[in-house]
């Protein structure tokens, strides 16, 4: 960092302050790139949107895969980018584009589940014996290492999906964001477009219901 800038701020350069300023500058440079591409898109160059999609496809796909069934991830990721393009006029640049796309992704997943729950013929699967046995085994684990190993088994994902299917669409989104992904309540509320008190109450009730569902499985 040039000495002149530190003297202007009146603060003493330290490694921590320098690292923080560098990260802010990098983010500013990245945001400037996005701003340049967005300007081109708003000027009518639709093909420039491919730059945004290529850059954020991994992030959006990761968010969607955390909420939606695996076989619908590609379709929903496609839907997220289409919706994002349609609502680009609503992006004012107050937050990084990645954060804004994350919000669009979460709301798209929320709409997906609301549509799924409206379909009366949605099948409610029974829990397999393997999953029940897995739940008993997981509930009796003693060490964290064993938990890591056990979590990688297919039954863990099946059990989680089965339990989340028992919740409402909004409750499953809230409990996934706040309890499974451990995001702050304020962040989850912003992503879902709900108020913080609403998310707090829902998170508490949804988690309680989830524990009751899991408790019934292991007989607790």
């Amino acid at each position: 960092m040039p000495v002149a800038s530190w003297s202007m701020t009146g603060s003493t350069p330290t490694p921590a302050r320098t690292a923080k300023l560098r990260s802010v500058m990098v983010e500013a440079v990245v945001d400037m790139e996005d701003a340049r591409v967005l300007k081109a898109i708003r000027a009518g160059n639709v093909d420039a949107y491919a730059v945004i999609m290529t850059k954020y496809q991994g992030r959006v796909s990761g968010i969607v895969s955390g909420h939606a069934p695996r076989d619908r991830v590609a379709e929903l990721t496609h839907e997220v980018f289409v919706r994002a393009y349609r609502s680009l006029d609503g992006y004012r640049g107050e937050s990084p584009l990645g954060h804004w796309l994350a919000k669009v992704a979460v709301r798209t997943c929320h709409d997906f589940w609301r549509a799924q729950y409206r379909i009366k013929e949605r099948p409610e699967s029974d829990l397999s014996d393997e999953c029940r046995a897995f739940a008993e085994e997981a509930a009796a684990l003693a060490t964290g290492e064993a938990a890591e190993e056990t979590a990688s088994r297919r039954e863990a994902e099946d059990l989680l999906r089965w339990a989340l299917d028992k919740l409402s669409a909004t409750d499953r989104m809230v409990v996934t964001l706040t309890h499974l992904e451990e995001r702050p309540v304020a962040e989850a509320a912003e992503m879902l477009g709900m108020s913080v008190p609403n998310v707090k109450v829902r998170a508490f009730r949804a988690r309680k219901k989830l524990r009751e569902i899991l408790g019934d499985v292991i007989g607790a």
Partner: protein
């Protein structure tokens, strides 16, 4: 109780308090720990912990495993053609023919329908005195002559 009795009681309390303070503990029993442990081991097995506590811990462990499973969840591989597919969708939407705005036409049709219904109602009730009332209301025409002249009747 008079003052004398009260003072006597105070003195007695002071004596008893002093006696309590002077009480000395008995000599330590060297075999106390052994006898206590023997008594504990000989007693029936301790009651199991409340079911709620154990169930809660098991649920906590199960939740922790599921949380890890969610964190480790991997999505399908990225689709390299997704960007092109999205662009194709957006361009198709932009090129789609614009459907003419029908709202104004529907409103005009609705207005004409309301007018036709009002005319029919008016015709059916003509002669009942309703038109005079309307004339009074709209034109302050007590005799209804304005309405009659408007209708050419």
């Amino acid at each position: 109780m008079d003052g004398n009795d009260s003072r006597r009681i105070d003195r007695l309390e002071a004596v008893l308090r002093a006696a309590q303070a002077r009480r000395s503990a008995p000599l330590p029993d060297a075999g106390l720990a052994g006898s206590v442990l023997a008594a504990i081991k000989a007693s029936p097995a301790a009651a199991p912990p409340p079911a709620g506590d154990d169930g809660s811990h098991r649920l906590d462990r199960l939740e922790a495993v599921l949380r890890l499973a969610h964190a480790d969840r991997s999505g399908p591989p990225l689709d390299p053609g997704m960007a092109a597919s999205v662009l194709a969708t957006l361009k198709a939407e932009a090129a789609a023919p614009v459907v003419p705005e029908n709202r104004v036409l529907w409103r005009m049709a609705a207005g004409a329908g309301v007018l036709a219904a009002a005319t029919v109602l008016f015709a059916l009730t003509f002669g009942s005195g309703l038109e005079e009332e309307l004339g009074r209301l709209l034109f302050y025409d007590p005799s209804g002559q304005v309405v009659v002249s408007l209708l050419g009747v």
